[in-house]
């Protein structure tokens, strides 16, 4: 993955550190601690400044309910929704129900459910879920790699929408999210190629970990990303609920299937090529990880992906500065590089602090210059304090999850998990750079009723209600679709009864691929052996 120039630089830096530790250990240690402490300081200050900018953005609702209501359904563009699912048999029916609750004309909504041919369990569960007419099952052929990016690229090839969005299997988007994205795109002009919706969790109170995760996500999506948007800095997209202009995505080169955070990479690539990425005030609710192991796996993939993104875009740093600008490049380096670096150096700095408590003060004074120790102390007290503060006061308060406020004090312990994940990420970057750590979903015991969904009034999220729950229009539409599906799954495999012929859609002016139109991206199969036949 490393280009020759990068390889040389890394070897030189590594050799210099080793040589320094051998020839002049004290000076080298001082230099290392100074560099790490300053990097830590700059990264924390950068995040705090961006976050504060996001706070100022709080009262500015990007897309109002009035603008959404004013949209003429006849003028809405065709929207494609890509939903990659893999080993999600336990939640795929719920997913299909959630998608049916979106407030968007059904004839203009193309939903591509991206399934893997080897994953027969999920395919069967999806078939049994009685999907609405506008959902098409797209079966990926067997063979490696089985990654989300590859599946999404196949979906992109077939997508017919002017706009496109990705949702994960466990997602519950706000009902009016697509309409808000349409307004955002119209307002943002042609340079705006992508808008990211906020992500949050519906099972925040499951356990300690889900609570910490929720405060972190609220901080990131409610303040960091709006702050980056306000400052016109590169925005690393989240893994879901990113809405894109389909044509622009094809021009940008699609998702990189070798990057394990392909969405973050896309956001940075868009910025590097002169396009802009924005945010929209709508939320998608996901399931927070309960088990620590699952959490570490997921986080290690994210950190590995950030490191991949950093290495990729720094292959030609001068070119990046020329195309994106110095300010954007520095912000990219601080955000995408600073995040893993701070996690990597947290344990050594904690260790140093503990050692300093055990040793007499004169020992450390003799080892390190005073200013280095002061910077380290500043990072420990003020830096950690600022990050705890933004998690407490912002992540918890904005979503009116007041019970999480005091728990944010436990962030230093939570960050240890991130550090473990970051070391795992570095190891995998070397040994298995393209390996995708699968995150398990459907483990929450919480009812999917949004009883604690954090829809704070101050968040500007006064939507039609929880997706699939209270929007009467959507309910009617979903119900109608379901009726149209009656009996569709009962045909013999390998046959296509006449009732499954696609209906002509007058509004869209094209053939609908609804429940009666299975779409398989695989070789023609014989009757009786086709896993997709009869699926829609």
């Amino acid at each position: 993955m490393l280009f020759p120039g990068q390889r040389v630089v890394m070897w030189l830096v590594g050799a210099a550190i080793v040589a320094g530790l051998v020839l002049a250990p004290r000076t080298t240690l001082i230099a290392l601690l100074a560099v790490v402490s300053l990097a830590f300081l700059v990264s924390v200050v950068f995040k705090f400044v961006v976050c504060m900018r996001g706070v100022r953005q709080e009262n500015h609702v990007q897309v109002t309910d009035e603008e959404v209501t004013a949209l003429d359904p006849a003028d809405l563009p065709v929207y494609t929704m890509l939903v990659p699912v893999f080993r999600e048999a336990n939640i795929v029916a719920q997913l299909i129900g959630n998608l049916g609750g979106l407030d968007y004309p059904a004839e203009k909504l193309e939903i591509l459910l991206l399934l893997e041919e080897s994953d027969t369990e999920t395919i069967e569960a999806a078939k049994a879920s009685n999907p609405p007419e506008n959902i098409t099952f797209l079966i990926m052929p067997p063979g490696q790699p089985q990654t989300k990016a590859k599946a999404c690229n196949v979906g992109l090839f077939l997508a017919r929408g002017e706009h496109l969005v990705i949702y994960d299997a466990e997602d519950k988007p706000d009902a009016d999210q697509l309409k808000k994205a349409v307004v955002a795109f119209r307002r943002g002009g042609d340079r705006l190629v992508c808008v990211q919706a906020a992500l949050n969790y519906w099972n925040a109170t499951d356990n300690w970990l889900t609570r910490m995760f929720t405060t972190e996500y609220s901080f990131w999506f409610d303040y960091m990303l709006p702050g980056l948007d306000r400052l016109r800095l590169p925005i690393p997209l989240g893994g879901t609920s990113n809405h894109v202009r389909t044509a622009a995505l094809r021009t940008l080169g699609r998702w990189d299937r070798f990057n394990v955070t392909e969405d973050a990479d896309l956001g940075i690539r868009a910025a590097a090529l002169g396009s802009t990425v924005g945010v929209v005030n709508s939320t998608t609710f996901e399931e927070a990880n309960r088990p620590p192991g699952n959490r570490v796996r997921q986080r290690s993939r994210w950190i590995k992906g950030y490191l991949q993104t950093l290495l990729v875009h720094l292959r030609h740093p001068l070119r990046l500065v020329r195309t994106a600008g110095l300010r954007q490049t520095l912000a990219f380096a601080l955000l995408i590089g600073g995040t893993p670096v701070t996690f990597l150096f947290t344990p050594p700095l904690y260790l140093l602090f503990i050692v300093s408590l055990l040793l007499p003060p004169t020992v450390l004074d003799g080892l390190f210059p005073g200013w280095v120790l002061w910077v380290s102390l500043f990072n420990l007290v003020i830096g950690n304090g600022l990050m705890i503060y933004v998690s407490m006061m912002m992540g918890a308060f904005k979503r009116r999850r007041y019970s999480l406020v005091l728990r944010a004090l436990l962030n230093p312990l939570y960050w240890i998990l991130h550090s473990i994940a970051s070391y795992k990420a570095v190891w995998q970057l070397i040994t298995k750079p393209h390996y995708w750590e699968k995150t398990l979903h459907g483990l929450s015991h919480a009812a999917a009723s949004h009883s604690d969904d954090g829809r704070g009034a101050g968040a500007g999220l006064r939507t039609a209600g929880p997706a699939g729950a209270s929007d009467s229009h959507s309910r009617r539409r979903s119900s109608r679709s379901a009726c149209g599906r009656a009996g569709a799954g009962s045909s013999p495999p390998g046959t296509r009864p006449s009732s499954r012929r696609p209906a002509r859609s007058p509004a869209a002016g094209r053939t609908c691929r609804g429940s009666g139109s299975p779409t398989r991206l695989c070789r023609p199969c014989s009757p009786g052996s086709c896993p997709a036949a009869g699926s829609r």
């Binding site: 196949v154 077939l158 699609r254 990189d256 053939t511 779409t519 398989r520």
Partner: protein
């Protein structure tokens, strides 16, 4: 003599089957083939 009716649906299915390998190849290696410096491969 056999009369057959072809619909949009049939054409789409035929394209998917016929161009399967090309689509999957493009989905996997598209960015890398276009610009190696942009891909994490």
């Amino acid at each position: 003599m056999t009369l057959a009716v072809t619909t949009d649906w049939d054409i789409v299915q035929a394209l998917h089957a016929g161009y399967r390998d090309a689509v999957v190849e493009q989905a996997t290696l598209g960015l890398w083939r276009r610009d190696k410096a942009q891909s994490a491969r």
